[in-house]
């Protein structure tokens, strides 16, 4: 076997492997989208692997009769609240870690990394008692506060790495020309960090959008989308909802996150230190 054929063979192997993997990832998503719009007859027709008659009935019913639309609105509110709270707490902390040297810095940083590992969602169980006392139970703010606890360590670490990427000299140059430290932050550092922060915000959004445990525990009527879906769909035995509603639910839940991430994909990748080159 000469070098050329071996090279071609290797290439073929590589691409068929990748093709398999990509199909494995993408196919279920495509199928669930197609099935979400499949007519009832097509779905129950064993011949039709791919449905040919489509209807928006399931998605519509799910949205407007079964309360998914309200769930979406609630999810968006919770996610935005989470972003606002976690960023207003996290940005100063991230900035402090990135730009100052002070005793105990490493300890604080390590503890925040460790906290990211703590099963905060599960700790929502005892939180219920406090929320009842504070009248926060079944409120969107209550869910957002808990989501903030989940997102905060992440926001602090990400923002600190973003700020660390903005060189100190740039800020100092502004300070030399008579701007205060706060002014330098708002005029120099923040604008430079903005794209990264936007990506971090999208991340926080997706994290909150996808979270189901806390939301299910802390709400009853004001459910976020995943919690609402979970309560309608849960369990194969108890799952009263007909299957096509489940397909529709998969579609509704997946789509916004994917669209969001599509716009942030550049950062999605760089956020983990992966470069595309």
């Amino acid at each position: 076997m000469n070098d050329k054929t071996r090279f071609m063979l290797k290439k073929l192997l590589l691409y068929s492997f990748l093709f398999t993997v990509v199909v494995w990832i993408v196919l279920p998503i495509i199928v669930s989208i197609l099935y979400a719009f499949s007519s009832k007859l097509d779905y129950y027709d064993p011949q039709k692997v791919i449905p040919t008659h489509y209807t928006t009935q399931w998605v519509k019913t799910l949205l407007f009769t079964l309360g998914a639309w309200d769930g979406i609105k609630n999810s968006v509110i919770v996610a935005i609240l989470t972003i606002i709270i976690s960023f207003s707490l996290g940005i100063p902390a991230g900035y402090a870690i990135a730009k100052f040297i002070f005793p105990g810095k490493d300890t604080i940083k390590l503890s925040i990394i460790a906290l990211r590992m703590f099963p905060i969602p599960v700790m929502a169980i005892p939180l219920v008692v406090l929320y009842i006392k504070l009248n926060l139970i079944d409120t969107l703010l209550g869910v957002a506060l808990a989501h903030t606890a989940m997102a905060l360590p992440f926001v602090v670490l990400i923002t600190s790495s973003i700020f660390a990427g903005v060189s100190k000299e740039l800020e100092e140059a502004a300070m030399v020309f008579g701007v205060t430290r706060l002014g330098a932050f708002f005029r120099i550092t923040l604008p430079l960090a903005l794209p990264g922060l936007a990506a971090a915000a999208m991340f926080t959004f997706v994290m909150s959008w996808n979270e189901v445990f806390v939301a299910s525990i802390l709400t009853l009527k004001n459910r976020t989308l995943p919690a609402q879906i979970l309560s309608i769909m849960a369990g194969s035995s108890g799952g009263a909802a007909p299957p096509y509603y489940k397909f529709a639910a998969a579609f509704i839940m997946t789509l916004p996150a994917m669209i969001f991430i599509f716009f942030a994909r550049k950062y999605l990748v760089s956020m983990w230190g992966i470069t595309l080159k």
Partner: protein, 281 residues
């Protein structure tokens, strides 16, 4: 003033986190071990007397033990492949990280679509003539298949995070380390074994920690695909709280998960120590 500034900036975030971990922790202990203000082990007795607790413990750990090694293996292979340059890499990479954005509830629903009796897989296999009866994945009688469905969904959805962490680690390994080994006569597998894997240890460690801790909290996908047919710790905690309204037992589930997480996290840190990083001064 200048010295205090960083602490002032950190304070709100730190206080917030301390509160949201400290308060529930204390409250959980209080709920779990007291009744009418007195210390009691009633809740503990009730919990461990319930076969569901042991089932939940068993299934939570079983799921982690089955899923995580396969994920690590797949992620390593994928990362090594994706670390080359080739045409279409960007697209493949994007496809591979899509699952990062999909929640476990949505993942469960998507795989329900694939695997249910009139779902894609069964219809496909029937039409190809490979099977004559649909393969049943769901229902209490088919609990092992439900377990399998959960495994498939988790492999599909949550391998991405392991992959991404390992790929990031791989990209930080200087090409020259491998070239040097090559020059001194090491073949491909030796290079993998002696250079790549040891240098990836920190990445593997953090990927394993993150995955394991999430696995201890597994809930949504199980709840969608199997309900309580396959009990898991977080699911039982949820059930006790929302259906039985037993705060004490629910708190014990929360504490169990926290204890397991801390234990496993500490174990990973201890046993997967990358010595060459520690010694840097």
């Amino acid at each position: 003033m200048k010295l205090r500034l960083p602490y002032l900036l950190l304070l709100p975030a730190v206080l917030y986190l301390v509160f949201f971990i400290g308060y529930p922790l204390v409250q959980a202990l209080y709920l779990a071990f007291t009744q009418n203000g007195h210390f009691t082990l009633d809740n503990v007795r009730r919990t461990i007397g319930d076969p569901y607790f042991w089932q939940a413990l068993k299934y939570t750990i079983a799921l982690a033990v089955v899923i995580i090694p396969i994920q690590l293996f797949l992620a390593l292979i994928l990362a090594v492949v994706m670390n080359r340059t080739f045409k279409g890499k960007d697209l493949a990479l994007y496809a591979l990280i899509i699952p990062l954005t999909i929640s476990d509830v949505a993942g469960g629903l998507i795989w329900y679509t694939m695997l249910t009796d009139a779902g894609f897989l069964n219809k496909l296999l029937l039409n190809l003539g490979l099977i004559t009866q649909p393969i049943h994945f769901f229902g209490y009688e088919y609990r092992n298949m439900e377990f399998l469905a959960i495994v498939i969904e988790e492999l599909w959805r949550a391998t991405a995070i392991v992959f991404v962490i390992i790929l990031a680690g791989l990209q930080m390994i200087s090409k020259e380390y491998l070239e040097a080994a090559e020059v001194f006569g090491a073949d491909y597998w030796t290079r993998m074994r002696k250079i790549v894997i040891p240098l990836l240890k920190p990445s593997i460690q953090s990927a394993l920690i993150i995955r394991t801790l999430f696995a201890m909290q597994v809930f949504g996908v199980v709840w969608i695909l199997a309900g309580r047919d396959i009990p898991v710790l977080a699911g039982e905690g949820f059930y006790q709280l929302t259906f039985i309204k037993d705060y004490g037992v629910a708190s014990i589930y929360a504490l169990t998960i926290a204890a397991l997480s801390i234990l496993l996290g500490a174990m990973y840190v201890k046993f997967l120590k990358a010595e060459y990083l520690e010694v840097r001064t």
